[in-house]
Each structure stands twice: as C-alpha cells, then as structure tokens.
C-alpha cells in the first residue's frame, strides 16, 4: 500500500513538473522569436515551422507583442493570419537569388513530362489502327 502511494505521489509530481518545464522552454523560445521578428523588416519572406508540424512560406506583415501577423505564400491566396510566438519552432529568412533545388527539380520533371506528352502526341498521330 505504501509503495503504491509513493508511486502515485511520484507520478503526480512528475506530471506537474514536466509540463511546467515545457512551458518555461516554450516561453523562452517565444522571447527569442519575438526578438528575431522585431529585427526583421516587414515584407521579409520566411520559412516558418510550427509546433503542430506545419511548415510554410510566409511574408511578415506586422509583428506584435504576442504574435506576428503573416501572409502565407500559397497558390490560391489566403488571408493574413496571426501566429503566436509560442507556436513557432523555427523561423528562417528565405534567401533569394538563384534557383532552389526544389524548383530546379520541379522544372526538370515538368520538362520531362512535357517532352513525354509531346512525344506521345506524335506517336499517337503516327499509330494507325
């Protein structure tokens, strides 16, 4: 019985302490990201990664005390949205100039697909039933 009580107390103490440590860490990170955003000019393009696993590109619209308002860069336009500093895992300034690996790969695949499509059309024209 005594052992059970001790284990229970230990579990409760751990349950209370561990999340508190996490909150402290999150709060610390939030301060870091707030400081970062305040130093970056409005209109800067960033790679954003959130605690829920979301990753996206966005432009800074307006920083505030608790959150930064961003415009996600998507194909179909979406409204500006506010991201709390506490939700941010990483912010990375996007470097422009040159062509990114992903873009180069996409262009390569698209060219290949286009070439294939063209070749198939020619082939279909030549194939007689």
């Amino acid at each position: 019985m005594r052992v059970f009580r001790r284990v229970l107390v230990l579990v409760v103490v751990c349950a209370l302490i561990v999340p508190a440590t996490g909150v402290a860490q999150t709060s610390n990170d939030a301060n870091v990201w707030r400081a970062f955003v305040e130093k970056v000019p409005i209109g800067t393009e960033l790679n954003v990664r959130l605690r829920n696993g979301q990753r996206f590109r966005a432009t800074i619209v307006q920083p505030s005390a608790d959150a930064v308002t961003v415009l996600p860069k998507t194909r179909l336009p979406v409204p500006v949205q506010s991201v709390a500093y506490e939700e941010i895992v990483s912010l990375e300034r996007r470097q422009h100039g040159g062509i990114s690996g992903g873009k180069a790969a996409a262009i390569g695949v698209a060219s290949g697909a286009g070439g294939f499509f063209g070749a198939m059309l020619i082939l279909l024209a030549l194939v007689g039933d």
């Binding site: 009580r5 229970l8 409760v12 999340p19 508190a20 979406v78 996409a106 286009g114 279909l124 194939v127």
Partner: protein
C-alpha cells in the same frame, strides 16, 4: 484509497492536458475556405499490357504497347483525399500468332497466321492522397479499381493450299473480334504541376494487377483545371 486514486488521476489529467502542446496550438489555414473542390483533366500516354501468346505448341509472355487517351474528373472530399473517376481507351496493341490446321488428305498440317489488334477501354475509380496544401506542385498516390474491356480483333490468314493439280487455293482472310471484361485493382502515383492558380499539368503512372501479377501499366500526361 479510492478517493486518493481518483484525486491523483484527476491531478495527472489536469496537469498533463492543458500544458499539452497539441492542445494549445492553433493550425494556420493554408487553404482558402472557398477553394475549388472539383477538377477535370484530359491526358494521353502509353499503355503496356502483358499477354500470353501461343504459337502452336509454344507459349510465351509478351508485352503489348499502345497509345492511350483518358479523361478524368476528381472531387476533393477531405483536405488531402480525392476521389477520381476516369475513362480511358487505347489504340491497338498488335501481335502475331500462328496455329497448325489439319487439312484432310494432307500428311502435314498447314499453318494459320493470326494478327491480333487489342484495344482496351477502361473505366476506373480511385482514391488519391495528395501531399501538401495549396502549393504549386502536388505529388499524389492512388489506389482504386478498374473495369477493363479488351477487344481483340483477330485477322486470320490460312497458308495457301496446293491442290493435286498444282494450283494454289488462296483462302479468304477471316476477321473475328473477341471481347473480354475484367475487374482489377490499380495502384499508382504522380504529380500535379500548377501553371496557374487553377490550371495544371499532370503526369502519372498506374499499374493494374490480377492473381498472376502485373497486367498493365500506363504512363500518362495531361492538362486540367480546378473548378
């Protein structure tokens, strides 16, 4: 004891859940609320099919090649899941076989050559998982079922038969069509490359199977738009 246990469990739950990062986080919406849910596309490409060919006593497996065209319609029913229906047809994939024919009064069999032209028409439905939200390039994987109808147009030509007087009797070629229908599972994947907000170029590969293994594979490219 029971009260203590209840209090302890409540304390653990209260301590764990509000601080849980998953609970506290709010997802950023990367898809506009009025985003299009339907798309249509047309494509052309290559269709390859396995076929067992018998030449007299010899049997072998061959690969038929044909051109194919398809039209499809898709409905996005969940953020990453899409239902697609498509109809496709192919040009004739050709191959040749021969079979021995016994002619009364002749000591050896003569041969009939058969020219096959196989055209496949298929209707299929699939569920696709599309990666990413509202980007310019979307890879996807898909699984589904197809109903494929194969029309095998067989033109048979019998070898000329020499009569006792030395004159050749040239038989008239005969044509028949055999139709078979099969229901098969399909697997595939590809990419959608958006060239405008709602227009895309797509390319995909698709494989269909039966109990013996791979039956057909196709590689198609096309264009489409969302609405």
């Amino acid at each position: 004891m029971n009260r203590l246990t209840c209090c302890a469990i409540t304390a653990v739950v209260v301590a764990l859940f509000p601080a849980s990062p998953a609970m506290a986080q709010r997802a950023i919406s990367l898809v506009p609320p009025d985003s299009p849910r339907w798309d249509v596309a047309g494509s052309a490409g290559w269709l390859g099919q396995t076929r067992t060919r018998s030449n007299g006593p010899f049997v072998d497996d061959i690969w038929l090649n044909a051109g194919a065209v398809a039209g499809s319609i898709g409905f996005q029913w969940a953020p990453h899941l899409k239902l697609t229906g498509d109809i496709a047809t192919s040009s004739n994939g050709r191959f040749y076989t021969y079979e021995p024919v016994t002619v009364p009064g002749r000591p050896a069999p003569i041969y009939r050559s058969l020219e096959h032209g196989v055209r496949t028409t298929a209707a299929s439905g699939s569920v696709a998982y599309q990666f990413f939200d509202n980007r310019w390039v979307h890879p996807f994987v898909a699984a589904g079922v197809e109903i494929a109808q194969e029309h095998d147009r067989i033109e048979s030509i019998l070898q000329p038969i020499l009569g006792p007087d030395g004159r050749a009797d040239v038989p008239i070629p005969s044509i028949e069509t055999r139709t078979t229908t099969a229901v098969r599972p399909t697997l595939g994947g590809g990419f959608k490359f958006y060239v405008a907000e709602r227009a895309f170029v797509s390319t995909d590969v698709r494989f269909s199977f039966d109990r013996s293994g791979l039956v057909s594979s196709s590689w198609r490219s096309g264009v489409g738009f969302d609405f």
